[in-house]
Amino acid sequence: MAGYIVRRILQAVPVFLGTTFLIYFMVFAMPGDPIIALFGDKTPNPAVVAQLRERYHLDQPFIVQYFIFLGGIFRGDLGVSFSGQPVAEILAKTFPVTLRLAALAIFFEMVAGITVGLISGLRKGKLFDSSALLVSLVLISLPIFVIAFVFQLVFGVQLGWFRTTVGFGAPIQDLIMPALVLATISFAQISRLTRSSVIDTSGQDFVRTAASKGLSRRRIVPVHILRNSLIPVVTYLAVDFGTLMVGATITEGIFNVPGVGRTLYQAIIRGEGPTVVSFVTVMVLIYLVVNILVDLFYAVLDPRIRYAK
């Protein structure tokens, strides 16, 4: 197991270097000057421009800039946004909100997705199964901002169950609606994954053995079928994390949730290169770490992974 952990972490190093380089390259080596863009259509003061260039090391060659930036990450210094606030500070303030939103969304999608998937898998081809399949297809096809607006319109404006935007301090009851929106897309994926996994497991020999030993259906379904079907669902969480981050950018923008996604969205709109780079880098870092953790967890659940190759 230790060997597997080391190998998995070593594999992540070039990916991390490549990813950060790519993001940095995209923002700073492309046409367009982020400093001039900052001034909009006004004529910038050359002294101010020179000072800003120095602060963001834009006077250095590109590759040097990248290594300064990389060094900063390892020291926990993520740079300063154009408004003068350290990016690490902005992250510290916004991250807990996004974390709460994401946790709530994962909770919703897991509970609903696994329940629906299990029932469909056990009653394959029945009415419940076909209608669940249809609903999941429709949900996959709906872009997240469409779902967000429909929810805002129906539950916020017409029924008045929730506030359409999140209030100060992002209390949990305001986060329910954005979390439900965020959960819809992955709900469809999780329910389908669970369904096919349950069908696969139900046909396994150990399930037949359990049944022939005289175990009741109420014991076979949760203990033998469900538990063994959840392994692929757990791995899906890693993929899901990417979906959640993109979804959070749009959902937080629409519902005005004061989290990482909305901050990133505003930085994009204002063209704040350094802030965008820092935020996307942090998101990618989290994504990489989550992926490693899920892989390791998967290796614990399924020993075949550990010994492969």
Binding site: V27, P143, T243
Partner: protein, 316 residues
């Protein structure tokens, strides 16, 4: 001994009584069945295939010949006196706040969405097939380098990447740049699917037979391995077309996609979001058009997947 056996009664039916010929006969004249013929036979029996096929044909027709579906001019004369107006004759879906005909904008926006989708799909398919085929077939260090490269692009969610690219390239916003921005980060999943399939196929007997016949490696890859491992790529590609259409709309919605002067569903939805309370239908109609288009491509992908994969067929 043989004389004794002949005296014994027959316990085995004589050859002329068992119609062995009928059992073993091969219909020589019939075309041999293959994966694609089987898949087509399976697909055409399913209503979902026909529904999505009709929808896709309709969307393509609207995209190519928009003037067949609406009498309005393409540069869409918006008159402010129609602001937020309800449906009238010739304008079945009413008007936006700017007084634009909602239906006409949806019709003319179709080609934008579809062309972004198709361009992204071509890019993703080409990159994915090249990277996946070389990584899977040649293995070794080529596989390691290409797979890590894929990991790098895969670990940045492609909408976030496209957001970064499009905000940097703000003065070059057009359909081609947008398609490049989405496609450059969307190919690794196709490459992964193809790589896995090629790993499975390249150990088949027919590959060994070709090697024994002295066929070159590259020729084996192109003529024998690729055609036999392309099926899952077709499924992923169909679904990626849908994903690309969603990505275009999402980016335009975020304000980093196509310029607001371009008619696209994403722009329509983006512009209508401020009128959610006063005139929600201007937001709902383009959303419905977008969702139906995406749904038809996803359904088509599902049907093809089920038809090509016997395991999925058994699960149905």
């Amino acid at each position: 001994m043989p004389s004794k056996t002949t005296n014994l009664p027959h316990f085995v039916a004589p050859v002329e009584e068992t119609p062995l010929v009928a059992i073993d006969s091969v219909k020589v004249d019939e075309k041999p069945s293959n994966l694609w013929i089987d898949a087509w036979r399976d697909m055409r029996k399913r209503p979902m295939f026909w529904i999505s096929a009709v929808l896709i044909v309709l969307v393509v027709l609207v995209a190519i010949f928009p003037s067949l579906f609406t009498a309005a001019a393409p540069n869409n004369n918006c008159y402010l006196q129609n602001s937020n107006g309800g449906p009238t004759a010739g304008h079945p879906l009413g008007f936006t706040k700017q007084g634009c005909d909602v239906f006409a904008r949806i019709v003319y926006g179709t080609s934008t969405s579809l062309s972004v989708g198709i361009l992204v799909t071509i890019l993703v398919a080409v990159l994915g097939i090249v990277f996946g085929a070389f990584a899977g077939f040649y293995g070794g260090w080529i596989d390691s380098v290409l797979s890590r490269l894929g990991d790098i692009f895969f670990s940045i969610p492609y909408i976030l990447a496209a957001v970064v690219i499009m905000s940097v390239l703000s003065q070059y916003r057009n359909v081609i740049v947008l398609a490049l921005a989405i496609g450059i980060f969307a190919w690794p999943s196709t490459a992964r699917v193809l790589r896995a399939e090629i790993l499975r196929v390249k150990n088949s007997d027919f590959v060994m037979a070709s090697t024994a016949l002295g066929v070159s490696r590259f020729r084996i890859l192109v003529r024998h391995v690729l055609p036999n491992s392309i099926a899952p790529v077709i499924v992923v590609t169909t679904i990626s077309l849908a994903a690309a259409i969603v990505a275009e709309a999402s980016l335009s919605f975020l304000g980093v996609g196509l310029p607001s002067s371009v008619m696209s569903w994403g722009n329509d939805i983006s512009q209508a979001q401020t009128d959610l309370r006063t005139n929600p239908m201007t937001l709902i109609y383009p959303s419905i058009a977008l969702s139906i288009t995406v749904l038809s491509f996803i359904m088509m992908g599902e049907v093809i997947r089920d038809a090509l994969d016997p395991k999925a067929r058994a699960q149905r």
